[in-house]
Every structure is written in C-alpha cells, then in structure tokens.
C-alpha cells in the first residue's frame, strides 16, 4: 500500500472536475456572482457621495449669500433643492429625508458681516448616516472661506481671513481622487473568492455523505490527503477565472490601477485560493449535512466581511476585533492585494501578510487531515 499515489489523486481530481462541469447551475453561479457583486459594489456603493439634496432657509438675497450658495453648488457636494423663508419648512424637509442638509442664513447676515460682527451660518446635517454627510461637512468651512474671499475686496479687505503663518500640504497618495472603487474593487476580489470557494468546498464531503457515495469512497484504499487535494484543486481553476474577470472589469470599468508585479499578485492569489479551499474543506470534515455546512460557512462570512477591513477600517476596530481579524485569511489578502494593485508593493512590503496567510493555510490543512474520518463511525 503506497502512502500516496498520483493515480488516486488524479482520479479524485478528474471526478470532481467532471462533476463540477456537469453542475451547470453551480458553475454559472460561480461565474455570475463575481460579475454581479462587482457591478453592485463598484457602481452602487460610494462612500463619498456628491450632490446631496440641500434646503436653504433665508429671508434676503444679497451678494454674499449668492456667492456662498454658488460656492456650495460648485463644490459638487451640495445640490440646492429648495429655498424657503420659513424655519419649520426647512426642519420638516430635513426630518422627512427630502434634504440631507439645511443651511440657515440668518436675517441681516450681509449687514452684520460688513460691520465685522462675525455673523453665523448654520449648517444642519442629517448625520444619522455619518458616512454620507461626513465629506460635505468637512468641506463646508473651506467653501465658505473661498466663496466670500472674492467679495472681501476694497474697503472690506480687512474682513478677509488672514493666511495662517504656515501651510499644510496634503497628498492623497495611491488614490488622489479618493475614489471608493479603488478600495472596494480589490477588496471585493477577496470577498468573492471567500464566498464562493469556501461555500463550494464546505459541502464537498457532506454531499458525498448525503448521496451515499462516501461509503464507496471509504471502502476503497484512497488516502485522506488524496481526497483533500483531489477535491479542492479543481476549484483553483474556478478561482482563477473569477480573478481574471474581476481584475479585467476593475481595469476597464472602474479604471482601478494595477501598479504591482503580476507575479507577486499571482503568488498572493494562489496562496489565498488554497487557504479558502482548505477552510471550506475543513468545514466539510465537520459538517454532517450540506445544510450544516452552509450554516457553518456563514459563520466564516460574517466576520470575514465585517472584521477584515473590507467594510470598515481595520485600524478603527477594538483590539479583540483586530485579533479575530488577524486570524482571517481575508484580512491578510485584502492588505496584500491593495498594496500590490494600488501601491505597487514588492515582496518585502507584503511579506508580513504573506507569511501569516501561509501559516493559516498550514494549520487549516493539518486540521482537515486530522478531522477526516476514515470510517463511517
């Protein structure tokens, strides 16, 4: 009895491959999901929203008011949908969600401005969704200064704000325009691979068990390691197709840059593919039915999406959440893929994520081999 046989491994691989090809629905799902998710996340999700509906409450229209409103409009953050003279109307629109911002310019603003009384403008934001209102709120101070600067000429020049004694220069590196898609699309690659590959391998053994074919398999001399590799490697191909789709669409539809080395990218991806497949396979050695396998897979999905840094910034999470995040393959992959694609990082830059991912893979495959039951007990 050979401890390992290529023939047996090849047999399991080919069998799994043929079954995968025949299962049209699953196959279509594995190709369809990446495309669908990419469109949804890439186009529909934008954490830097523009043209937010704004209502302006004012009772007189002077030069300064007009300049200020024009400045708001030009910033593209605000879209003035209504102007009112009644305070209740503005409040109602904000409360009813018809407007995201209420700008109140008090009576006599221009007169008091000219007198140098530092009159106030109120910007009331619907901050129930901090992400949506954040960008606009941050921008408004600058808009106000710029908009009025032009009017503070001649005798009014004394009112113009003086320049600070130093200047802060900001470079938004790797994503100068702050495009959400730059961050989301590479992250999405990891999420898609996690979702589809963990799910598909998690049912690998449970399906054999439910169909009764596990008994045939166990009655033959096939070894646990042959079953494990034979059942997971066919999906490397599926993963590769998904990667190509996502990377191609990222380039053509969202203009996401690809600065790093394709070879390093391939290494990182391959390691991540295997890790996901092993994670799924480990679940399948534990789950007694396909239903159970899917439920367990969900327990992996939720932390992966929430704690990996895909949805929310990793650095903002409390220590215990970061600890969980560090144990998830997706966390390391996200950092690597963003660094490689957006920053052109080299192997030295991603090593501190490549190594932990390799460690996770080693632990998962060892556990899976130990968990594999060689009898029906």
């Amino acid at each position: 009895m050979k401890a390992f046989s290529w023939t047996r491994l090849k047999a399991v691989f080919l069998k799994e491959f043929v079954q995968m090809r025949r299962d049209r629905l699953t196959f279509a799902m594995m190709i369809g999901i990446p495309v669908l998710q990419l469109f949804l996340f890439g186009y529909a999700i934008n954490t830097d929203p523009r043209r937010l509906p704004t209502v302006v409450e004012m009772r007189e229209t002077g030069v300064f008011e007009r300049s200020f409103l024009a400045g708001l409009k030009n910033s593209t953050f605000f879209e003035i949908v209504a102007t009112t003279t009644r305070a209740e109307e503005g409040d109602a629109m904000l409360r009813g969600g018809e407007a995201a911002f209420l700008i109140v310019i008090p009576e006599g603003f221009e007169r008091r401005l000219v007198r140098g009384e530092r009159p106030q403008i109120l910007l009331a934001a619907d901050a129930s969704d901090p992400v949506a209102s954040g960008g606009a709120v941050n921008a408004v101070q600058q808009i106000a200064e710029r908009a009025l600067a032009r009017d503070m000429a001649g005798p009014l020049a004394r009112l113009a704000p003086g320049a600070p004694p130093f200047e802060v220069v900001v470079h938004r590196r790797y994503n100068p325009a702050g495009e959400t898609a730059y961050n989301i699309v590479p992250g999405l690659l990891g999420v898609i691979l996690t979702m589809t590959l963990v799910l598909i391998t998690s049912i690998a053994l449970a399906r054999e068990g439910e169909r009764g074919t596990l008994e045939t398999l166990l009655a033959t001399p096939v070894r646990p390691v042959e079953v494990m590799l034979g059942k997971t490697t066919p999906y490397i191909l599926v993963g590769a197709v998904q990667v190509l789709i996502v990377v191609a669409l990222a380039r053509w539809l969202f203009d996401v840059p690809f600065l790093g080395s394709p070879l390093l990218f391939t290494i990182a991806i391959t390691l991540f593919l295997f890790t996901n497949l092993m994670l799924g396979y480990l679940i399948s050695t534990i789950a007694r039915s396909q239903m159970q396998a899917m439920q367990m897979t969900f327990f992996i999905f939720l932390p992966s999406i929430l704690l990996s840094g895909f949805m929310f910034p990793f650095s903002a999470m409390p220590g215990w959440a970061q600890a969980i995040g560090e144990a998830l393959p997706l966390t390391h992959f996200l950092r690597m893929v963003r660094e490689i694609m957006l920053k052109g990082a080299g192997i030295g830059d991603v090593w501190n994520d490549l190594a932990p991912l390799a460690l996770i893979l080693a632990v998962l495959s060892t556990l899976a081999l130990l968990r594999y039951r060689r009898t029906l007990d």
Binding site: L14, T213, A219, P221
Partner: protein
C-alpha cells in the same frame, strides 16, 4: 478446517451506536470460495456486520482476520482486496458508467485501469451504454454497474449487502449466475438477502437477529437444525382455522401458502394432532409436508419481529 482456509475469521465482533447494540458478539467463519448467505430481519445488524468486516466501521470489541489481515489494525490492506457493494446505490449518479468504473479502477491504483474498465463493461454487457449517466439507469442496470465496480480490482472477497433489493427476477437470476461464476474462480462471497430463492443458492447461511447470530449452518442442514414440522391443510374453509391455530402454544406459526394453510410446530406428534383436529372441524384435508428453508426462516423470524431501531448511522 484450519484457520488458513478461512477468508473471514472473526470472533466476538461488537458494535454499538449510542444505546443500541447493533452487532453483539458475532462470530463468522467463512471458508475460501464459499457463497455465504447472511439473513435476518430488517435492522438486525447485517449491514453493520458487513461494514465491520470491510473496515468501514471500527468494532467496539472483538478480533479476527479477514483474508489473513487483522480486521482492526490492517483494514487498509483488507480494503485493497475486498469488493464491497452497498445496499443503497452508492456510485456517482452524475458520472457516466465508464467514468464511474474508471474512477474506482484508478482509486485501486491499477496499472491497466483502462483495459479493466473495458473488460468490465464487456463482461457485464454495459459497453453499449458506457457513456450514459449512472443516475439515468434502471434499478437492474445500476445493480450491474455496482457489481462491476466492486469487482474491478479482482477482489478475493465480495461483500454484497442486499444486492438484489428491488431488482426483477430475471436480473436477479443473471446476478446469481454471475456470483456463482466468481465463486468457481475462487472468489468468496458474503451476501445478505431477504429472498428465499437466493438463500437456497448459498452454500451456508448465518442468521442474525437483534445483532446476535442465532444460527449458522450449511444451507441443506438448516431445516433440520431449526427442527420444524409442517402440515398442510387444504379445503375451502382453511381461513377459519388460521386464527385459532396461531393462538395455540404448540404452533410456531400458521400461514397461508397460496390457497393452503401451513401449520408449523416443533413437536411432530403435537402438530399432527392439532392439524388433523382443525382439518376435521372445517372439512379440510391435512397432509404432512417437508418443512423447508422458508418455513425455517419464518419460524426464526416469528420469534423476532422487525428490529425497530435503525441498524447503522447515515
């Protein structure tokens, strides 16, 4: 007979699932080349015993050798040399006949896998349908495929778990001819079944109920071992006598064989007296008949109704 001639030589095999003892100290001694029948009510532990023998389950207690290998420590060696046909069709329904056979052949790491697949297809008359999906086959064809699959590596021992359940009589007949040909080549077979016409084809029979082996003997000796005597009542009103006879403590069972009523008991004189008395009451004739294998097994089973608990996990 020395133990070297025994292909299966296990003693005290015991296996429990939770509170249920599915197999309770079962001994089996199956000589080389024999067709050994394995009978018993549903859930009596037949499947579990077969799985213990081929290493699919680990026994809680017991020891022994299969094909000269230790049944616990050397189960991998046993697997290579045993062909196991499961009760339920357990090949891949989404693979074709050829793909299924090729898969199994490669799992046994056979050098001439392709040639063996071709030969197996030919042998079993499956060549013409080789590319049909296994899931689309009828019961009889599935059974042929399963047999071909478990024979592909030329096993020395065949373990067949109710191989002909749900298969038509002609296919069953062909199936048994095939088993007999294997036996002639020296292949040993342990086969579980519920059919009497199959039981008589076996050289020896082990009968198991509630996980315990109750009887183990050459087929021809079974009726004598059970020691039953039968009378046949023939007449228009035999149905009226059945209920009273069944209640009589001297009667093991009274059952209809076609239009007749057979009364079966252990004590020859007592059963003759009871049968004749009953026949007289209803104007029927009472004749002694041979208590055959079927009477013997109904007699054994009437002591043990269907074992309610399922025999094995999954």
């Amino acid at each position: 007979m020395t133990s070297d001639d025994l292909v299966i030589d296990v003693r005290g095999l015991t296996k429990s699932f939770g509170a249920l003892t599915a197999v309770d100290h079962v001994d089996l001694a199956v000589p080389r080349g024999a067709i050994y029948g394995f009978l018993g009510p549903n859930g009596s532990g037949k499947t579990t015993t077969i799985r213990l023998v081929c290493g699919l389950l680990r026994p809680d207690a017991g020891e022994g050798r299969v094909l000269g290998f230790d049944v616990i420590r050397e189960s991998e060696e046993i697997k290579v040399r045993v062909g196991y046909m499961t009760q339920r069709f357990s090949l891949y329904e989404d693979l074709s006949i050829r793909e299924n056979l090729a898969f199994i052949a490669r799992l046994y790491d056979l050098d001439d896998a392709d040639a063996r697949v071709a030969a197996a297809l030919d042998d079993l008359g499956l060549s013409a349908r080789a590319d049909q999906l296994a899931g689309k086959l009828s019961g009889g064809w599935k059974q042929r495929l399963a047999l071909a699959a478990c024979m592909i590596h030329d096993p020395e021992l065949l373990l067949l778990d109710e191989p002909t359940a749900g298969v038509d009589p002609k296919a069953r007949r062909e199936f048994w001819d095939q088993i007999r040909r294997f036996a002639d080549r020296g292949v040993t077979t342990l086969v579980s079944t519920h059919y009497m016409d199959e039981a008589v084809q076996c050289d020896s029979i082990a009968y198991i109920a509630y996980g315990k082996k109750i009887l183990d003997a050459p087929t021809a000796q079974i009726p004598d071992k059970v020691g039953l005597h039968a009378y046949r009542l023939r007449g228009a009103r035999v149905a009226e006598a059945q209920a009273a006879l069944e209640r009589d403590p001297g009667v093991v069972f009274a059952t209809r064989f076609g239009a007749d009523l057979h009364v079966v008991g252990k004590d020859e004189a007592a059963i003759a007296r009871l049968a004749k008395a009953a026949a007289e009451r209803i104007g029927a004739t009472a004749e002694p008949v041979d208590a055959g294998l079927e009477e013997a097994f109904i007699g054994l089973m009437s002591g043990a109704a269907d074992n309610a608990a399922p025999g094995a996990p999954r």
